[in-house]
């Protein structure tokens, strides 16, 4: 059965022969066994969840199914026959399509060119592809303008390009790698509708995620991976979210403890007033009239879809970019808009950017050396311009001990640590400097559950001790769990922060999509 063909499509029942099967698939990276004898079976027309923590081996497995990696052992069967998938082209020839988590798109090219690149039978002249694109986008309600450049599109539109690119090949199996991590709640609903329509037409979907509620809402079957092994297979609709979580993590699932509601009347520690900044690079976002305050003991969450000015806001707060006027940013009451990063730190600012390796830390340098990056202003690490490695090492060891950073010692290169351990280190490096204000972006992006719990608890404890904390995140669940108030950033503008209790997920979703909701009383109006 082929999606998009005119023939009527008999939907194959689950219980029929598997469309795709893996048997005892093993893949090693050096000493690490990323996939250890993995068995998986996906039937036609089913939405099959591949569930697991970050680092459980989900991406490795699907890369093998799409021909980007080769298994060291074991077999892949397609419609019952063993197959070799040496490259993505071979996967596509079989009828396997894939939508990547970090999209495989080309910013400087048009939508049509991007789609042509993903087709093996594309016409020589890309312009002749345009009608086909329009036809498929109409059939599935995936609005797309083939002539536009990708760099001008929103994240949701970018994902549509990837999906349309797959649909044009009439796939029998569509692999979706963490497709919702960058979408607004409304965009997620729309995506689910498309996926259900595809499944109804007989296309199997392998859906990779660690978001439990989504899987329970969408999927018919779930295979759960942990540390490279299949630990369970189940019907997610029959399980509770907590039950799935326990299978995924392997032990009792811990969440950060919610603390007592903070006083919202504390002294203001960080204030930003009418801050506007032009975009500093070709495709950057301009900040426009940003105003907010964070009081001592408060956690303010900033939600938003990636690429709406979060990076620019962080740079403006950290001092990587200077504000037009000094009073527009105040740290502990002192005007700081014209101060550089080091002077702002001296006023009590701590910053943890989104990118761990390359921004928060330098992967090639040791943990000790990484202490010098942000510790110079508040720790005695320098003597007349000379470095004091012993002092830095002692501090690094304190961070390692206090935040349970797993590493050989403080001389290990930062890049050799796992994502979760490096994140614990860079968060700990800021917190142990006892900042008055902490700005942190995507604190738990892509790290394992244990590290998530450690980091979130550390942020809550820090606020409890009187620090003003600003959390910039795309993970709504995280913001709802941590924040006292939430504001939403969209296209470089920030909504007024509102107490969490007065906000619904739908409200935030609408604001993330750029639709201002004047009051929380207005009912959700369905499709935007």
């Amino acid at each position: 059965m082929r999606v998009g063909s005119d023939a009527p499509s008999p939907v194959v029942q689950s219980g029929s022969a598997p469309l795709l099967e893996t048997r005892g698939v093993v893949r090693r990276f050096g000493d690490l066994v990323a996939n250890d004898r993995v068995d998986l079976a996906v039937r036609p027309g089913e939405v099959h969840a591949l569930l697991g923590e970050n680092g459980a081996g989900k991406s490795t497995l699907v890369k093998m199914l799409y021909g980007l990696l080769q298994p060291d052992e074991g077999a892949i069967l397609w419609q019952g026959r063993p197959v070799e998938i040496p490259e993505p082209r071979a996967a596509r020839r079989l009828g396997i399509g894939m939508v990547f988590q970090h999209f495989s798109l080309f910013e400087a090219m048009t939508v049509a060119e991007n789609i042509a690149l993903g087709l093996d039978d594309a016409p020589r002249d890309v312009r002749r592809l345009v009608p086909r694109i329009r036809a498929v986008s109409a059939e599935y309600g995936l609005a797309l303008d083939p002539e536009r450049h990708v760099r001008d599109l929103s994240v949701g539109e970018r994902q549509r390009i990837e999906i349309v690119r797959c649909l044009l090949q009439s796939p029998q199996l569509l692999i979706m790698d963490e497709p919702t991590s960058v979408l607004t709640p409304q965009e997620i609903e729309r995506l689910f509708a498309t996926l259900r329509q595809l499944a109804a037409n007989g296309c199997a979907i392998l859906y990779i995620s660690h978001k439990l509620e989504e899987i329970r809402a969408l999927c018919d079957r779930a295979t759960i991976l942990r540390a490279g092994k299949v630990v369970a297979a189940c019907d997610p609709r029959q399980e509770t979210a907590r039950g799935l979580a326990n299978m995924m993590v392997g032990s009792e699932f811990r969440t950060a403890g919610r603390r007592a509601q903070a006083r919202l009347d504390g002294r203001v520690k960080l204030s930003v007033e009418a801050l506007s900044l032009p975009a500093d690079e070709a495709h950057g976002i301009a900040l426009s009239g940003i105003s907010f305050t964070v009081a001592e003991g408060e956690i303010l969450g900033i939600a938003g879809v990636a690429g709406n000015g979060q990076g620019e806001l962080l740079a403006a707060l950290s001092g990587e970019r200077l504000a037009p006027q000094s009073e527009q940013i105040r740290i502990g009451g002192a005007p700081a808009g014209h101060l550089g990063p080091t002077e702002r730190r001296a006023l009590g600012l701590g910053v943890v950017p989104e990118e761990r390796n390359g921004h928060s830390a330098v992967g090639e340098l040791s943990l000790t050396e990484n202490v010098f990056l942000t510790g110079r202003a508040r720790l005695p690490l320098l003597d007349f311009g000379f470095l004091k490695p012993k002092a830095a090492r002692a501090f690094a060891e304190r961070v390692v001990a206090a935040f349970d950073v797993r590493c050989p010692d403080a001389e290990a290169p930062a890049g050799s640590l796992s994502g979760g351990n490096l994140q614990k280190f860079v968060v700990g490096r800021e917190i142990l400097q006892q900042p008055g204000v902490l700005v942190v972006a995507q604190p738990t992006w892509g790290i394992d559950a244990a590290a998530v719990a450690t980091v979130q608890q550390a942020l809550l404890d820090l606020a409890q001790s009187g620090c003003a904390v600003l959390v910039i995140s795309q993970d709504l669940d995280e913001l709802l769990a941590l924040s006292d108030r939430i504001a939403v950033i969209h296209a470089g503008r920030l909504t007024a922060p509102r107490p969490v209790a007065a906000l619904s997920v739908e409200d935030i979703g609408m604001m993330m999509g750029g639709i201002a909701r004047p009051s929380s009383a207005a009912p959700a109006a369905g499709e935007a």
Partner: protein, 309 residues
């Protein structure tokens, strides 16, 4: 100025522009695939000396051109092996290629210095070439001049209108994306690098076979670097590179004429600085125009690609 001066002057501009155009077009293709090869100067020298020796040995210009292109491509292969297969730093490797090319060409050419060979013949088209003004301007050039213009059109068409051109640009824009949908980034870049080498070789051959049909040590004299600057000046577009090459040819010839005319009492060395200074000025102009330049550079230019595991 009368036509008597203008026509021969234009002809010499073409002569000065053509080697730059070959090398710059080749490097343009290389850079659009995401690779920065700073070894243009070395590859041009290899092409110049090998092309010259081939003609001196066989008397065949066709064979000379083929040998020059292969010599340039051979040098490029070395660069490709180091940067693409062994993932060495492109800047350092390009510099090494130039240093190596200067030495190697001098070594190979040491017995051939100063010996003249017959120049690459002009393609005389009876009747047309004899027309006044238009004849010498449009007809009666050597084959490389026409080839360079045809290649400008061909490369522009290839990049904009063919599937292979699209894939090549994709590798330069987002190597990881291209890899993840199944393109062989390294293979595509090898092809681009080899093509760039062959083009540099032809550019060098133009110098030793047509412009001054003899071998002089280090005769490329920085033109490889100017070609690199032209690619940025042309914001990675073939037609603008063509314009840039002729503009530079013009500057070079202008200073020669001014030197020869004796109108200005400026030492010849000062006039010779003009092309180099003009390069710096043009680089500054394009860099400070915020409306373009940076915007058009291939996103992966100069970055080493290691396939993710």
């Amino acid at each position: 100025m009368s036509l008597d001066i203008l026509v021969p002057m234009t002809l010499t501009v073409i002569g000065a522009a053509t080697p730059l155009l070959f090398a710059a077009l080749g490097e343009l293709v290389v850079e659009r695939s995401g690779v920065l090869n700073l070894g243009v100067e070395g590859m041009m020298l290899a092409g110049a000396v090998v092309g010259f020796i081939a003609v001196a040995g066989t008397g065949s210009h066709a064979f000379g051109l083929l040998a020059a292109a292969l010599a340039g491509a051979g040098m490029a292969l070395l660069f490709g092996f180091l940067t693409l297969t062994l993932r060495a730093n492109q800047v350092a490797t390009g510099l090494a290629l130039t240093i190596f090319g200067i030495g190697l060409s001098a070594l190979i050419g040491v017995k051939h210095v100063g010996i003249p060979i017959p120049a690459l013949p002009k393609l005389d088209i009876p009747g047309l070439s004899d027309l006044p003004v238009i004849g010498p301007l449009l007809f009666g050039h050597d084959i490389l001049v026409y080839l360079s213009l045809a290649l400008t059109i061909g490369i522009a068409w290839f990049l904009a209108r063919t599937r292979q051109g699209l894939i090549l640009r994709a590798c330069g824009e987002a190597d990881l994306s291209a890899h993840s949908i199944g393109y062989h980034v390294i293979r595509v870049r090898y092809c681009a690098v080899l093509f760039g080498g062959a083009m540099s070789g032809l550019g060098g051959a133009y110098l030793s076979m047509a412009a001054t049909p003899m071998w002089i040590e280090n005769m490329v004299a920085g033109r490889g670097w100017i070609a690199l600057a032209l690619v940025a000046f042309g914001s990675w577009r073939p037609w603008r590179v063509l314009f840039g090459a002729y503009l530079f040819g013009g500057v070079t010839i202008l200073q020669l004429y001014l030197q020869g005319s004796g109108i200005l009492s400026i030492p010849s060395q000062v006039m010779s600085m003009l092309p180099y200074l003009a390069t710096i000025i043009l680089l500054t102009v394009i860099a400070s125009g915020s409306w373009r330049g940076r915007l058009d550079a291939p996103a992966c230019l100069g970055k080493t690609f290691s396939p993710p595991s």
